[in-house]
Symmetry: C2
Subunit: 392 residues, 2 copies
């Protein structure tokens, strides 16, 4: 065996400063898309003690009250008083948003809609593996579930002394066939109010967050737990750490198990291939695994700014393919159209479906109807049959 015997992934809660920034950027995107689906949006946010700064480039005919959106997102997360360190009602909101460069615009817009150019150059990866039901790597899946659970027990009052900021990390042990077989270490840090003692906090986190989420058969006497290892985490959110959009791109995707092209998702409308082609990449990879053509699959795609056709499409099946690799590549080309226009059409991306993607992962989530469209449409395995037909 020459592969990893241990693999670690992390996640963060919706109260983490970088995630506050991502959620603000995507809430702004959604508000604009609701009124002007063809708007060009690239919205970047910075949050620090007492202030949220929104920036980037937006070209739209919509009029939206950006300040209110920012305040609402911050309050919704739970930062609604100076006691918790940040207050959506009273923080400063600074807007330094500009417009999309007309020179970029001329590269993207084309008379024939199908020929729409990519909004930027770049490389993106899509990934799937049969390690979990949702065809995602196990470490990131469980890291997300831990911080989702933190949010749930904070909001439903089971652990009322929890505060919004939290981070999780899971180290999984893999057997020689690359199957997860146990949990080696769990790290969980959560913000809390000053009343709770460290011993009580640790016990409650184990009982109410860790045990309900992690498979019992993967926990053993050897499992190491690191719960609030600094000892104190009352100060959190933007006071403790400056937050920026696009700074949790590995949490957003595959927890490090797959490669990453570097492009961020939040705040970007789907003319930006950093987002839309990464979603399409997941869709392609998941359909390949769902069709049984490989147990594990990673796709790389790249674009030149202003060009519709990808500059490259390439596939890695890590030796797990069940039909010859070349035939899978050919089937992908037959079944999927990876021009920006086609991705936007096939995944129906011109709708306000983005805010829910900005916490707890863009991948491995169940599709559902939201604002007249399917959120997480890229998780559908609706092309698996077509792929099977194409390889045979």
């Amino acid at each position: 065996m020459s592969e990893y015997s241990l693999f670690t992934s992390e996640s963060v809660s919706e109260g983490h400063p970088d995630k506050i920034a991502d959620q603000i950027s995507d809430a702004i995107l959604d508000a604009i898309m609701a009124e002007d689906p063809r708007a060009r949006v690239a919205c970047e946010t910075m949050v620090k003690t007492g202030v949220a700064i929104i920036s980037g480039e937006i070209t739209t005919s919509a009029w939206v009250d950006l300040e209110s959106i920012v305040r609402e997102v911050i309050n919704d997360i739970g930062y609604d008083s100076s006691d918790v360190g940040f207050d959506g009602a009273t923080c400063s909101v600074i807007n330094i948003i500009g417009k999309q460069s007309p020179e970029i615009n001329q590269g993207v817009d084309r008379e024939k809609l199908e020929e729409q150019g990519a909004g930027d150059q770049g490389l993106m990866f899509g990934y799937a593996s049969d390690e979990t039901d949702v065809l995602m790597p196990a470490p990131i899946t469980y890291a997300h579930r831990l911080v989702e659970r933190q949010s749930k027990v904070r909001r439903n009052g089971i652990l009322p002394w929890l505060r919004p900021d939290a981070k999780s990390q899971v180290t999984l042990r893999y057997d020689a066939d690359g199957r997860p077989e146990g949990i080696d270490a769990v790290v969980l840090s959560t913000q809390h109010n000053p009343d709770i003692g460290l011993a009580d906090l640790r016990e409650a986190v184990i009982e109410e967050i860790i045990r309900p989420v992690l498979p019992a058969e993967w926990l053993s006497k050897e499992t190491k737990y690191f719960i609030n290892p600094t000892g104190k985490f009352v100060i959190g959110g933007p006071v403790g750490d400056c937050g920026l959009t696009g700074r949790k791109i590995i949490v957003d995707s595959y927890g490090g198990m797959a490669r990453h092209g570097g492009g961020a998702f939040s705040g970007k409308d789907p003319s930006k291939v950093d987002r839309s082609a990464a979603y399409a990449g997941r869709w392609v990879a998941k359909n390949i695994v769902a069709a049984g053509l490989a147990r594990r699959c990673e796709l790389q795609v790249s674009y030149a700014i202003g060009e519709a056709q990808p500059t490259s499409i390439s596939l890695n099946t890590f030796g797990t393919e069940t039909v010859p690799h070349d035939r899978i590549v050919a089937a992908v080309r037959d079944v999927f159209d990876l021009r920006p226009f086609a991705i936007i059409r096939d995944l129906d991306l011109l709708h306000p479906i983005y805010r829910p993607t900005s916490s707890y992962g863009h991948f491995g989530r169940d599709p559902y109807t939201l604002n007249g469209a399917i959120a997480f449409s890229w998780e559908k395995t609706d092309r698996a049959e077509a792929l099977k037909a194409a390889v045979s």
Copy 2:
């Protein structure tokens, strides 16, 4: 073959807005480290039309003139007049930097220096392969060289109409053994002044940037060139695109060929394992390949905040190992000490050596003496002999 037959990586020049932000963050780090090597620095920058905002958490006894540093970095890059879209002398500089949370600090500082805890949780990867002399993947190596060349011919007057902002992208074709064998596509977009016509620009870019850099034997009639595909790129820098620290983490590392843990480098002092452990990971991986123990090697390491020992260390040699994988893992544990204190000591990281890392890649660069220390010390193959001894 089930691996990629094509692989694409990109790079950006020092005038790209995200890179302006990275350079400002690292210049501030260096200025503080020069006076107070044990300072805690996490400096995040946002640049947009007419403004640079510096934020993050800094705890130091040093007094440095941050505003002047910001202006100097911007001017040094070449943004020194409104004509080019941004002017270091006249832009606004806004400082919203806070201090490191004392609760994080109590987790990191220990009475015994060796027990210094990791400044955050997280996962990091190190990578090396024998694909190039510098033991880096070829696509990112050539993508960097293209934008470095853009900067050189801009600065030395060969192409005086060039402006600072540029991006490159290289698609390499690999043979069945995973050896690069040709270049499929090259993308290069460069900012320029309004006087140069598109046809002249394209010819000059091919002759003065692309041909001097890319190996002639890898270029053929099939190679596709995309040079300024939008047709016009006069507006650039922060006017065209908001820049943020830590938004080019794949450019900074292995161009997507290796996995990434998600942590950014620039602006972070080495108590932050996102930076120091990623540097150490490169050092370990490069020494393994230099010692001939594997042709290709990727190391994952992870930490819990406040803990000195990594929560996991794991290795992937992709079937290219020349001695049993387990013995390499054991040798790594023998030869390298991956506690934050030991990394900082062994790589001598408490010096102002960071600004040069913030453009054209943190890895694959030659070590050299800078401000009384070795910059890029993590590129030294000084433990290869010890590794060979440890496996035998």
